[in-house]
């Protein structure tokens, strides 16, 4: 019964909730499976902390909340400070690298970083940073079928911004694929170094 627990957090206004909707939708509508999305409800609309939780499972989700995420996506320092202590020992941490500086983490945690806001600005609209993050998430986490994610993006944004959002998704995905291959190369070379040393 593989279950993936995800938390996405950042400032209100960064599109945290929409990112979670895309992942959740991909997980239960555009691929076989179940997903449950919940969000923190506070008085804040813009600024302030905002977080959403998605649980992906191949059986119906019973318990609706995430306590120790397998994957933590953070887009603000405050969110990092608040939620990084919860991450699973062998979990994945995904950060907006211009907005988050990481501290000490459990040794098993894999960290992936992307300048999502800069990429979104290059695309002409800072607003799509969340979809850049979602594309990056799809590549590095491999938690959901990327094609399902892409369809979920298309189904979740206004018609007029669909192409822009798909571009944002693709840019994030490419960035993630590249980062992932570099990590693998790095790990391979580490193994190679280790082999030489022994």
């Amino acid at each position: 019964m593989p279950v993936t627990e995800i938390r996405i957090a950042g400032f209100g206004g960064q599109g945290v909730i929409l990112s979670a909707i895309v992942i959740g939708k991909a997980g239960c509508i555009f691929q076989d499976g179940y997903s449950t999305m919940t969000q923190s409800f506070g008085p804040e609309a813009r600024g302030g902390a905002c977080s959403a939780q998605v649980i992906l499972s191949d059986t119906p989700v019973l318990y609706p909340y995430v306590s120790t995420p397998d994957i933590l996506v953070v887009m603000s320092q405050e969110a990092y400070t608040l939620f990084s202590p919860q991450i699973k020992g062998d979990g994945i941490l995904i950060i907006e690298e211009d907005l988050v500086r990481i501290g000490e983490l459990p040794p098993g945690v894999r960290v992936y970083s992307i300048p999502a806001t800069r990429i979104a600005e290059e695309l002409g609209k800072k607003m799509v940073l969340n979809i850049v993050m979602v594309g990056f998430f799809a590549a590095v986490s491999q938690a959901v079928d990327p094609e399902a994610m892409r369809k979920a993006v298309a189904a979740s944004v206004p018609e007029a911004y669909r192409d822009l959002n798909l571009k944002a998704f693709d840019r994030g995905f490419e960035y993630g694929t590249k980062e992932l291959s570099q990590v693998i190369v790095k790990q391979d070379s580490l193994v190679a170094v280790a082999a030489i040393e022994t």
């Binding site: 909707i21 959740g24 939708k25 239960c28 509508i29 179940y34 997903s35 449950t36 999305m37 919940t38 969000q39 409800f41 506070g42 989700v61 019973l62 318990y63 609706p64 909340y65």
Partner: protein
């Protein structure tokens, strides 16, 4: 009768419970809502206000809950299917008009997305603390129907059921959601309009001169007049005779109020909905409802993994309460564990129905979050001992 396709958003959606509830209301034929939006129920009418102009209908934001809860009843008598939504503090203010709906047999739906109380309490956090209030909140003797969805899909499905029950039994019907179910987003499948059964309004087939507005049929429920077509319509919260005119004689009160109660009590087998799993041979049965039933399921799975024989009984209708079923379970098991997000409400009904035949153990919670499955598991293990 099938649903009017205009209100049915057929397809597979990713919706939260509040939005799914709104789609259920639209699919059921609701074309009027008067509301005084309050967290965590706001999204239901926010969506309704956006959607209803496209299907032909009205949303009015009222000045308060008293106005919201009576305006919809005017709309019902005018021919619309109507509802309102609220949460704890607003629900308290609506009590007088809920009694009015019961007394005047106005078919209408109230959605209560429960949050932690008392008073303003926890505006954005869950509870199941209005379960007795929904049953007993207004003064006088009356019966209502209350449904407890545990997922966005059920928020859609059971809102339709609520409208259907309201039309069939002519009483206020309540969709007792909780903040978690209201705000959680999951897959919701909305079928084609022709697959959705809708209970039409029970309009009289009698001509105006023979029609009596509160003369019951065999099922103890009266038919409704076509307003504006020559039928005599007199609706009052005062004790009234079959014509609807005030009559304060104790004998009239006795006939009327007994009927208001009996039309639900005598149809209880047709109304009661529940989900029962592995009751046969169970040592312990866990009773729960709403979001708590999902957390309880996790605890049940954990207990079964330890080899315990545990059954599940989920209330879908909290009211009328499935008394007979609980009594039967109590006669066969060591104990019943009741998990609910309050400090003991439906457990009183379980105790009453069990009548000492089995131990009844409450796993209460003051609200603000869901139970820890481990707490329910602990109670299961103690009761099984």
């Amino acid at each position: 009768m099938h649903a009017d396709p205009a209100g049915v958003l057929t397809g597979t959606h990713f919706l939260d419970g509040d939005h799914a509830c709104c789609e259920g209301a639209l699919a059921a034929g609701a074309r009027f809502s008067s509301g005084y939006p309050i967290t965590p129920s706001t999204e239901v009418v926010e969506r309704f206000a956006a959607r209803v102009p496209t299907v032909g209908g009205t949303f009015i934001q009222m000045e308060d809950e008293l106005a919201a809860s009576i305006t919809l009843q005017g709309a019902v008598w005018g021919g619309a299917k109507a509802f309102t939504v609220t949460s704890g503090p607003g629900f308290s203010l609506m009590m007088e008009h809920i009694g009015y709906a019961a007394m005047t047999e106005t078919p209408c739906v109230f959605v209560d997305v429960q949050r932690g109380g008392p008073s303003t309490g926890l505006p954005t956090l869950p509870a199941q603390q209005d379960m007795m209030q929904v049953r007993w909140g207004s003064h006088g003797d009356y019966e209502i129907i209350a449904l407890c969805p545990n997922s966005p899909q059920e928020c859609f499905d059971l809102t339709i059921t609520a409208f259907n029950y309201a039309e069939k039994y002519r009483c206020p019907v309540f969709v007792m959601m909780d903040e978690v179910v209201g705000h959680m987003t999951e897959k919701v499948v909305i079928p084609a309009a022709e697959e959705i059964e809708i209970e039409p309004r029970r309009y009289t087939t009698l001509p105006p001169e023979e029609f009596r507005a509160f003369k019951p049929g065999e099922d103890l429920v009266p038919d409704m007049p076509h307003v504006g077509q020559g039928y005599n319509v007199h609706v009052t919260g005062l004790t009234h005779d079959e014509r609807g005119y005030p009559d304060m004689r104790p004998a009239v009160q006795d006939v009327l109020v007994r009927r208001l109660v009996d039309k639900i009590k005598k149809n209880v087998d047709k109304i009661t909905l529940f989900e029962a799993d592995q009751i046969e041979g169970a040592e312990v049965v866990v009773v729960s409802y709403g979001i708590t039933s999902r957390v309880a399921q996790k605890a049940i799975d954990m207990a079964r993994a330890k080899g315990l024989k545990v059954g599940k009984f989920r209330l879908i209708t909290a009211w009328p309460f499935p008394e007979k079923e609980i009594a039967e379970i109590a006669s066969k098991v060591k104990g019943i564990v009741v998990a609910e997000m309050n400090l003991g409400q439906m457990v009183r009904e379980v105790e009453r129905a069990a009548a000492g035949q089995a131990k009844v153990r409450l796993v209460g919670h003051a609200g603000g979050s869901v139970h820890k499955p481990e707490d329910i598991l602990k109670a299961i293990m103690e009761v099984a001992r």
